[in-house]
Point group: C2
Chain length 441, copies 2
């Protein structure tokens, strides 16, 4: 038995606002941050998860995760492994906490569940993706909360699809392990100069990437100029994605993107509010004649919003995130729904730790669910890897290499943790304000 005897919650922040890496029309000066959750068991296992945020508010998340951790302290890991849905319900259906709904609460719940899944994988000495790949379809289906999903997709249907896909599993596993999962990267952060963007392109090109994303919403003249520059830099063949981070209203998004269509954007990501299913649908319909798809997911607040986006064909790219929903079980549900509605899963990456986590989902999707041939692209961020993680993600020939260490592979350099702990770590000394809510863009 592995008993949970101690849980540490650490608020880590990196002053990325110094360089404006990560900047977009809304998040003008983000400090990439995460809540690091460490669950210790009495037999020496360490379960890890991270939960990304943009700086201010990281402590809100940490506060929530710390409170939730009291619900699992003293429990046996085997209980979770034997019945993961009961732990999910313990958290998501809590008879008082449920009032707080999604956002911080669902994200904090995800932190706890993800760290438990990390422990589970480590008990089997497997990377998370391999744990998922080897789990019998019945156990995948039983781990999911179907309460609000059955009008789109039933557990029986999910089970049948997973079982059918299983016949190809061995071949697909071999294929994916050999090739990795195809990646793309953001080059055009809003706050960067053209020269800095060129350097970024060169950096990621050297790793074999041939798809690039840029932030839009800085004004149509600025965006047209920048997009022309990027299209010229990457060539006619490369895919060029755009991302507005919800800056527009519905009609505004359609009009704006028509004026960028000559530069052949592959998709527009988050053209409007995170939860506007009908708005997304109208935008998707409006931009279809121009060959522009709609992508969303990094802030989609619940599996129910994903369900609607998928059922209505309101998005053409499903950008699951590793830390927005209530952990592995929510994300598996979304991947299964995306498969049913034939929408490729293109996970949202970023710092800190998102890329390290999403690769596991992409691998599971491409081995056990939709197969590797649906044009999936996995977001990759070139910063906050080597200096942060003992096993940083690795790109070869434009694809993520397959992780081999146990669990998520989120073990961090102790020096990084020590120096970036907010607000006591060294990098925050003498500049505490720039990570806090009173730091105004």
């Amino acid at each position: 038995m592995s008993k949970i005897i101690d849980i540490e919650i650490i608020d880590l922040r990196v002053p990325t606002s110094d360089t404006l890496q990560g900047s977009d029309p809304f998040h003008k000066k983000p400090n990439y941050s995460c809540v690091l959750t460490r669950i210790n068991t009495d037999d020496g296992l360490l379960g890890l998860s991270v939960n990304f945020s943009a700086g201010a508010g990281n402590d809100w998340l940490a506060y929530g995760v710390r409170d939730l951790s009291r619900l699992i302290l003293g429990r046996d890991l085997e209980e979770f492994i034997g019945d993961p849905i009961s732990f999910y319900r313990l958290l998501i259906d809590h008879h008082q906490l449920r009032w707080l709904a999604d956002g911080v609460a669902r994200m904090a719940i995800g932190s706890i569940l993800n760290a438990l899944w990390d422990l589970w994988a480590k008990t089997e000495n497997k990377p998370l993706w391999k744990l998922l790949v080897d789990l019998p379809p019945e156990r995948i289906v039983q781990s999911i909360d179907w309460r609000y999903l059955r009008d789109a997709f039933t557990p029986e249907e999910a089970l049948e699809r997973l079982k059918n896909a299983r016949s190809k599993r061995t071949a697909q596993e071999k294929h994916v392990i050999q090739k990795g999962v195809k990646a793309y990267s953001t080059a055009g952060w809003l706050g960067l100069t053209d020269q800095e963007i060129l350097e970024t392109i060169e950096e990621v090109r050297a790793q074999g990437l041939d798809c690039f994303k840029m932030k839009v919403g800085g004004g149509i003249d600025f965006d047209r100029k920048r997009m022309a520059f990027l299209r010229e830099s990457i060539g006619d063949e490369a895919l060029l994605m755009t991302d507005a981070n919800q800056i527009w209203g519905v009609d505004e998004a359609i009009e704006y993107m028509k004026r960028l269509s000559e530069f052949r954007p592959y998709w527009i990501e988050e053209p409007t509010a995170r939860d506007d299913v009908f708005g997304y649908k109208r935008i998707a319909d409006g931009l279809r004649p121009f060959g522009i798809g709609v992508a969303a997911g990094e802030q989609v607040p619940s599996p129910v919003i994903f369900k609607q986006l998928l059922m209505q064909n309101a998005i053409q790219y499903c950008q699951i995130d590793a830390t927005r929903l209530a952990g592995v079980q929510d994300v598996l549900a979304v991947i299964l729904m995306a498969d049913k509605f034939q929408i490729p899963v293109c996970p949202h990456g970023g710092g800190i730790g998102l890329c390290n986590m999403i690769v596991h989902y992409a691998i599971w999707d491409q081995i056990c669910v939709s197969g590797p041939s649906r044009g999936q692209l996995v977001e990759y961020l070139y910063f906050l890897q080597d200096e942060v993680f003992l096993d940083p993600v690795s790109i070869r020939n434009g694809a993520y290499e397959i992780p081999t260490s146990g669990g998520w592979g989120l073990e961090m350099e102790e020096e990084f943790v020590r120096e970036h702990t907010y607000p006591t770590g060294r990098v925050w000394q003498g500049r505490e304000d720039s990570g806090s809510i009173t730091f105004i863009a």
Copy 2:
């Protein structure tokens, strides 16, 4: 000038789980709670707001409100009064915090904004409703964030409608002041016995109420028995509403409610997930032939979800809440949209303080927006009033009387505050655990 010099945030909880008042299928043992925000100015004004929760997690909200309060400390109240939308944007579009999305973050933002509106009303010695009624339509429209709403409703259209309604304002104000706004109450809390429900019905009937709500979702046999009992108790003429608090999936809701239709439920509230717009639409379509409308709002997480529910005729009763959204400005936007789509606004009440706040919105709606004749009903809760508030809400002839004290009228008895402060107050001594996250239903 009134400068903000001090902000207090207090976590108040009442052990309502002792009596199971407030219980429903999800919130089995709620402890009605609120975050009390007190903004002090240098000229002696005190701005108040409350933010309701069900117990555990109230401290999460308090943590957030406390952090946000740093953004307005030292600011002049006149800045807010002159430009309320800039304060709204300061909070809702914060360049780092925005990542936390809705839920706790939007609720906490509402606490700050609502306390500022309280101060504004107090500078004019008016109840909140009267401040709103007297504001020129231009200033109402300018206070609203239209970014994501224009596909449903434009500021120009809102202005025109408000101006048109203005011709009837004087007559309607007189009418509403005389009659009050019609109320209804929940009698059938899930955890109460039949005898306790009878006593509750008698208590609220004595105040002239003739519409009653009951919780459903406790199992079809239990619910049919209870509903037959309630229908018999209240008579054939009285309206009987039902409330499932999101316990069902979409198809399940339709099937279940068909089996209750013989008892003539007036509406089914929250039949499924808070953000399932398409689900609500399907349920509304499925139950229309049975004369059952769909109501929702107390957990609708954003104006964008309200927009979709209203545009799609997915709800027939719009239950704005006083503390779920980002304060007055979000709620005014929803009331204006409901008017455009001809959906009656039936605010969600409850404890602590929700009823005291929603009555202001109902009055503004019925004087300045939709008029008093759309069949609006305002939820009323008979407990946590006299012992809590200096100016408790008051019901006469089945209607809320019109508040006359300044602002929201949320001034509390100091003894109540002292005794219910969590976890140090007297009522929590020796039973701290029952208010916390580890108190499991």
